[in-house]
């Protein structure tokens, strides 16, 4: 299995704060890699640095062998990286349709892909012409994910998609992400929800204080409660 994304010795400073302190990680192609860690460990900063939203102060980031750490965010996106931020960041003044039109960029929306998305998220079809700002939190999250997958992407960076959502919506989201995974997508997923992490993750990376402190298979971490408590301060089950 080749690595689609690789970070080597990545440091990121935000103002005078040194957030990422030498990140080394690899995301294998076609797999879901979970990025876990306590609040403030640097997970979101890692995704934003990969996306170019915060510039790495040093280190190398490569996507499919191509260096991207100096590239601007739009260029990284056009290399095939989809980003779902923690805040969802749907354009609330635009309709559901308009949000997806923008996400499809230069291409027209693929009807088959749209139908596939509607299969998981029927609310998006129903509220197609409604302003995204009028959607519920769960529906906004669906729109945010739909925006990332409306076009084929090489890599999806997803930041805590289940945060603050009702359990039933979490189950639906997990099903959708599993289906995306089955289609061969490569995903780097920040997640605090144990159930989601266990269901989706092939590999796991655990962060603390801006560095990777553990890497391995998700199943192994899920089965090792003492290791979870040592790495995360409490068991994954308690993260739900």
């Amino acid at each position: 299995m080749t690595d689609l994304l690789k970070l080597s010795g990545v440091h990121t400073h935000i103002g005078r704060y040194h957030i990422l302190q030498g990140i080394d990680l690899a995301v294998p192609e076609g797999q879901v890699t979970m990025l876990l860690g306590r609040n403030g460990a640097g997970k979101t900063t890692t995704l934003r640095t990969i996306m170019g939203l915060w510039q790495a102060s040093s280190g190398e980031i490569s996507l499919a062998g191509e260096r991207i750490e100096s590239r601007a965010t739009p260029d990284i996106a056009r290399l095939g990286v989809g980003y779902v931020p923690e805040s969802m960041a749907v354009f609330s003044d635009l309709t559901v349709k308009e949000n997806l039109v923008l996400a499809a960029r230069d291409a027209a929306m693929d009807d088959k892909q749209l139908e596939w998305i509607f299969g998981f998220f029927p609310a998006l079809r129903r509220f197609w012409l409604s302003r995204a700002g009028s959607l519920s939190g769960g529906q906004k999250q669906m729109l945010s994910i739909a925006r990332a997958i409306i076009e084929p992407r090489k890599l999806l960076l997803i930041d805590e998609p289940t945060k603050g959502l009702a359990p039933a919506i979490i189950v639906a989201l997990i099903e959708c992400l599993k289906e995306i995974k089955r289609k061969g997508a490569t995903i780097l997923l920040v997640e605090q929800n144990f159930f989601a992490a266990r269901e989706l993750g092939d590999n796991v990376l655990v962060m603390d204080n801006g560095t990777i402190v553990h890497r391995g298979e998700m199943a192994a971490l899920a089965a090792d409660v003492p290791l979870q408590e040592r790495l995360l301060g409490l068991s994954l089950e308690a993260h739900q």
Binding site: M51, L53, A72, P74, D93, L94, F127, S130, G138, A172
Partner: protein, 336 residues
């Protein structure tokens, strides 16, 4: 996904019409206070005309504010430059300006307005590249740079045209008034209203019916996410900045004709009004800017008629009142 069943009622989009009703209510409230219907109609027409001109000048600034969080205190330079450029066309064609034919008048006015827009837009390109690009995200430096740019522009105009006020007479066919009963409405004010309305409709069509407009609206709300979708928002911003500068140039020509004179610091008082309009309208909101411009003009005209001593502070009081009601302006688009 049972909790999101298709049987859920479709949420009806809330239409926020309170800001739209505000100028209507203000105008109606003024009828008994002013007393004379003809005076009220004249003042209302003057307000709408002045409001449209301010809207044209402010519309670009509000998008620049909303889209890139740039404080451009030099916006007035585009207004003055637009007006001066128009004099370059008016001067050699003075006979055509004074001709009795509307078409001959327009044959001078239209190229003058277009040339002013082109020069102001081109100046906008230079200002964005030279003054603003190095100070993105740094508000204090933006204020210093753009204020400095405004001073340089004004002094350059003084150096090129001299310190004297340059007369800019209205074309003959735009002089005089339409008489409706005992009400006289100046022809030029009607033209200003029509041009302002046309600009408003054109901007709304672009914003709501084109992909470019979608990008601008999305960028005003969350420019980072627009970039994460693969769009180069800096290019978009440059386009919006140049368009806003060009519209300011058009507004400058219209204002110069309204006052029938041009001078280098003509935008100084206007800039205050424009900033008030942008703030009370809500940063980045074209609809808010449109209503804000009408409100500001109404308060200036009605206030000047009823309580002349309050004329200087009336718009500040309006801004305070609106921000107490809606702290992010009439239509909040950005989170700022």
């Amino acid at each position: 996904m049972t909790d999101l069943a298709a049987t859920d009622p479709l949420p009806k989009p809330k239409r926020d019409i309170a800001p739209i009703l505000l100028p209507v209510a203000l105008a109606l409230l003024m009828i008994p206070l002013i007393g004379s219907t003809s005076s009220w109609l004249t003042l209302t027409a003057a307000s709408l005309a002045m409001g449209m001109m301010i809207f044209i000048m402010a519309s670009g600034l509000t998008l620049v504010f909303g889209l890139m969080d740039v404080l451009n205190f030099g916006h007035g330079a585009f207004i003055a430059v637009g007006a001066y450029v128009a004099t370059l066309v008016f001067a050699p064609f003075a006979a055509s300006v004074q001709a009795d034919s509307l078409w001959i008048n327009l044959a001078v006015l239209a190229p003058a307005a277009l040339l002013s827009m082109a020069v102001s837009g081109a100046l906008g390109l230079v200002v964005e590249r030279v003054l603003i690009l190095p100070v993105y995200g740094q508000h204090l430096k933006q204020i210093l740079m753009t204020t400095g740019g405004l001073i340089v522009a004004e002094q350059t105009l003084y150096a090129l045209w001299g310190p004297q006020i340059i007369p800019m007479p209205l074309p003959t066919s735009l002089r005089g008034s339409f008489i409706l009963g005992d009400v006289a409405i100046a022809k030029y004010r009607v033209l200003a209203m029509l041009i302002g309305l046309a600009v408003f409709i054109a901007i709304q069509l672009v914003l709501n019916r084109t992909k470019l407009g979608l990008l601008i609206r999305a960028g005003v709300e969350n420019r980072e996410m627009v970039e994460a979708l693969g769009y180069r928002i800096r290019r978009l911003f440059l386009g919006v900045f140049m368009t806003g500068s060009a519209l300011a140039g058009l507004g400058g020509v219209m204002w110069a004709l309204y006052r029938e004179q041009v001078h280098a610091s003509m935008s100084d008082d206007l800039t205050v009004l424009i900033f008030i309009v942008v703030i009370i309208g809500g940063l980045g909101s074209i609809g808010g800017c449109f209503i804000g411009a009408i409100l500001v003009a109404m308060v200036a005209n009605y206030g000047g008629f009823l309580v002349p001593k309050l004329a200087l502070v009336s718009n500040i009081l309006l801004m305070v009142a609106i921000l107490m009601w809606r702290p992010r302006g009439l239509y909040a688009v950005t989170s700022r």
